[in-house]
């Protein structure tokens, strides 16, 4: 190959320009993603709990303190409940909608656009209406969904929604499901469309019933899409902030690490805020790093 015999100078001549073209981005990302993550980690290992500068390095002390703090564990527990309902809801409805729309539906585009539209709205805007829908008043004073249940003869479904101390976080996940199920639907639809037509034809030739065709031929092909959807939805769940701030404000009842971090940082406890943030980053990395590796590997195999 001629490239092997090139002199170093010509190698620089061919690598130099592309490197220069992406240099601004590389520098920006290096500083504002990796640099700031490094500073954040460093701050989290100091005793900077006020506006005063840090006086000393405390190692992992802040981490130990946080991980044994009831309030932080409560926020993690809330996040877990939220995540379970959020993932189950978006995956269930997203999959169901995609399946229903998968083939031969008149006005498919209209249905798809309607299911997906909440994605275009901000959490702050949807929070306004969901705060109304999830009003905790019951009986005569009920409004929102409780009133709707009552008037439909489903009064037993009335509940205090997010004011419930145990299951309140599950109620907060409802708007999130409403907002993002359409996104999961779009992913699954792309997955359905990606199943080679020959596979379907072959199964039909073999006399497989419609259900068997799905069960044994099409669903198994959706594994990678389901994985993508799961990773994306989980990491969105970890970041949930806007929705909670908009529906309940930053209160203890519905606190998750993201809103707790806000409360702590506005109280100028820099070290603690940085500690919460690092834990959030680690939680996200657990999903994201293997996923990026996986897609990278798949891409290389695909070439």
């Amino acid at each position: 190959m001629p490239a092997r015999t090139r002199k170093p100078l010509s190698r620089i001549r061919s690598w130099g320009p592309p490197l220069l073209l992406v240099a601004p981005t590389i520098v920006i990302i290096a500083v504002f993603v990796y640099g700031l993550i490094a500073v954040n980690t460093q701050v989290s290992m100091t005793d900077r709990h006020s506006l005063q500068p840090a006086t000393r390095f405390v190692g992992l002390e802040n981490y130990f303190a946080l991980l044994t703090e009831d309030r932080f564990l409560h926020s993690l527990w809330n996040l877990l409940i939220f995540t379970i309902v959020f993932i189950a809801g978006t995956m269930l409805f997203g999959f169901l909608w995609a399946w229903l729309l998968e083939k031969g539906v008149t006005a498919e585009g209209v249905f798809r656009s309607i299911y997906l539209f909440p994605m275009a709205v901000s959490f702050v805007a949807s929070g306004v209406v969901w705060r109304w829908l999830l009003n905790s008043a019951e009986g005569d004073r009920a409004s929102g969904l409780n009133r709707l249940f009552e008037s439909m003869g489903l009064g037993f479904l009335q509940n205090p929604w997010w004011s419930d101390p145990t299951w309140g976080m599950a109620a907060i996940a409802l708007p999130a499901v409403w907002q993002l199920a359409g996104y999961v639907m779009a992913l699954f639809l792309a997955g359905f469309r990606g199943v080679p037509i020959e596979l379907r034809e072959a199964a039909r030739m073999d006399g497989a019933s419609e259900w068997k065709l799905y069960r044994h031929v099409i669903f198994p092909q959706l594994g990678p899409v389901a994985l993508s959807a799961l990773v994306i939805v989980s990491h969105m769940s970890l970041k949930v902030f806007d929705l909670i701030m908009s529906i309940t404000k930053a209160i203890y009842q519905t606190e998750v690490p993201a809103t707790y971090m806000w409360v702590v940082l506005t109280g100028n406890d820099y070290a603690k805020a940085a500690t919460i943030a690092t834990i959030m980053l680690l939680l996200a990395a657990v999903f994201i790093v293997p996923y990026l590796n996986y897609t990278n590997r798949k891409e290389r195999e695909g070439r």
């Binding site: 690598w15 320009p17 990302i29 806007d242 798949k298």
Partner: protein, 302 residues
């Protein structure tokens, strides 16, 4: 097809029963689809109807019903009308709307431009370890932004950056880079290599190839990234909360301020505000939905 599979289990049913079953399952499918449409659109109904009710009409018992008096009827009778909600919301949000446009449009354009340059290099004009560098850039779009927020807030204070949309504009450009790069890279992956070879034979350098061959065919990808960046910057609340205040921040902050200040009796104004604040992104979605979905799907990497 039926002839090709004479032993099919489905065929053992009498044709009439089969047709009946097919009609039944088709009907069930459409009934389900329509039920879900109603569920998904319920919040929209609530937003519109509540925004049109004057405070006097707000009553839990009739909260799901249409307004007792429509604003145009009430207007002739005098007294407060549902339009007052809209006036109130407009007055609360109007100052921030212009600022938000001034922030989102340049942010979308600049990160798209940088993204196309990056995407070109990472897919068509690579350098050694370009893939690794690309993955490292990509990681930036998955981090919880809290992980950089504490130092970012400190940096903003140290540099004396203002608590308004100017700072947010810069921030949106920076953190929009990974997704824009990704979208352009995926788009350019489908460009046939022969085009590049031809231009290399012609002796065109990198910049000329990019400017005269690649940029002209990049319009669809630009539409996707511009829409995506516009929508996410418009809807952003996290950076707005940490880095700006209501006097200089974007519309999401103004809306939140309006909504949090509202009592139950004043839901109408917050709902009108939510509709006003969502109008630009909803319009983009309705008119350019296809491209919006394109941006969405790129979030799943491949």
């Amino acid at each position: 097809m039926t002839a090709a599979a004479p032993t099919s289990a489905a065929l053992s049913l009498a044709p009439a029963a089969r047709t009946r079953r097919r009609i039944l399952s088709r009907t069930a499918k459409y009934v389900l689809l329509v039920i879900f449409v109603v569920v998904v659109l319920t919040p929209v109904y609530v937003l519109v109807v509540t925004s049109l009710k004057p405070p006097a009409d707000v009553n839990p018992a009739t909260s799901w019903g249409l307004p007792i008096r429509w604003p145009w009827e009430a207007a002739t009778e005098g007294g407060p009308t549902g339009f007052d909600n809209w006036t109130l919301a407009w007055n609360a949000l109007a100052p921030s709307l212009g600022r938000t446009f001034a922030m989102t449009i340049p942010a979308a354009l600049i990160s798209s431009m940088l993204g196309s340059m990056n995407g070109f290099v990472f897919s068509l004009w690579r350098f050694p370890h370009a893939n690794l560098v690309f993955t490292l850039v990509l990681f930036g779009m998955f981090i919880p932004y809290q992980a950089i927020m504490t130092p970012l807030v400190q940096m903003k204070t140290t540099l004396g950056m203002p608590s308004n949309v100017v700072t947010l504009l810069i921030v949106h450009i920076i953190y929009g880079l990974p997704i824009c790069t990704l979208i352009f890279r995926n788009y350019y992956e489908s460009v046939p290599f022969e085009i590049l070879e031809a231009s290399r034979v012609d002796g065109a350098g990198m910049l000329r190839t990019f400017g005269s061959i690649i940029l002209p065919i990049s319009v669809p990808a630009f539409v996707v990234t511009i829409i995506w960046q516009f929508t996410s910057a418009w809807n952003d609340f996290l950076f707005a909360m940490f880095l700006s205040d209501t006097s200089g921040g974007p519309v999401s902050l103004a809306l939140n301020n309006l909504a949090q200040g509202a009592q139950l009796s004043n839901y109408g104004a917050s709902m009108a505000g939510a509709l006003i604040a969502s109008a630009p992104t909803l319009l983009v979605y309705i008119i350019l939905g296809k491209y919006f979905v394109g941006g969405l799907m790129s979030g799943s990497v491949k």
